[in-house]
């Protein structure tokens, strides 16, 4: 498709379980970003991939969070041993010029930990 695609759109999981969230960026976009948005809040930066460079993981809140980007395209955000405070909308974005240009966001994955 023409936009950033995220799956699943909704995920309900039990506390303590692991979850994987997927992001398909716009074809050819070299930069990919993950953000977290809690209810009524702004976007919290998690991780940033740019081309073949080492990712900027400075926003990951704990070692339960990890992300990878395979083949410079699809990215997976993994949350291990989920906690209730992990409940949020996880947004992925991509851009063609790196961090200095506007991003195109997906619609997000709404994660609910019960």
């Amino acid at each position: 498709g023409a936009g950033v695609s995220q799956s699943p759109s909704n995920k309900v999981t039990e506390k303590g379980k692991d979850v994987e969230l997927r992001c398909d960026p716009i074809s050819g976009h070299t930069a990919l970003y993950w953000y977290r948005q809690s209810l009524g809040q702004g976007l919290e930066f998690l991780i940033y991939f740019q081309g073949n460079s080492a990712p900027d993981k400075s926003g990951l809140p704990s070692d339960r969070f990890s992300a990878e980007r395979t083949g410079g395209s699809v990215s997976t955000l993994t949350i291990q041993r989920t906690q209730q405070e992990d409940s949020a909308v996880y947004l992925c974005a991509s851009s063609s010029q790196g961090a200095d240009y506007g991003y195109t966001f997906g619609s997000g994955t709404r994660l609910t930990v019960v």
Partner: protein, 111 residues
């Protein structure tokens, strides 16, 4: 830490009025600023951007103003329409890092 914030969490206007949404930023090293619009259940959508070597930029019905002296950014929407109702975020960037977003202003437009 450094962050981007907004002056008002909510703004209510009448259809046809001009809207002004404000944002204060704290990092004088930031050189790129963006406004995003987010409708319910959707991801943020790019509206307009501005670089630090400019103080004004206009788009279709929108204008962004940058005052580096007081670290202030504003978004002006002309002839506001009901379809403009959404949450508006400003974001800042310094070279080589990801955008930092503020908490957002909810714009409500009544007919």
């Amino acid at each position: 830490g450094e962050s981007v914030g907004l002056h008002l969490p909510t703004l209510s206007v009448q259809e046809g009025d001009n809207s002004i949404i404000n944002c204060a930023y704290s990092n004088s090293a930031s050189d790129y600023f963006i406004w995003y619009k987010q409708e319910s259940g959707k991801g943020p959508q790019f509206i307009i951007d501005i670089r630090s070597n400019m103080d004004k930029r206009q788009g279709q019905r929108v204008t962004v103003l940058l005052n580096k002296t007081v670290k202030h950014l504003s978004l002006q929407i002309a002839a506001t329409q009901p379809g403009d109702s959404a949450v508006y975020f400003c974001a800042e960037n310094k070279a080589g890092t990801a955008l930092i977003f503020g908490k957002g202003t909810t714009l409500s437009v009544s007919s």
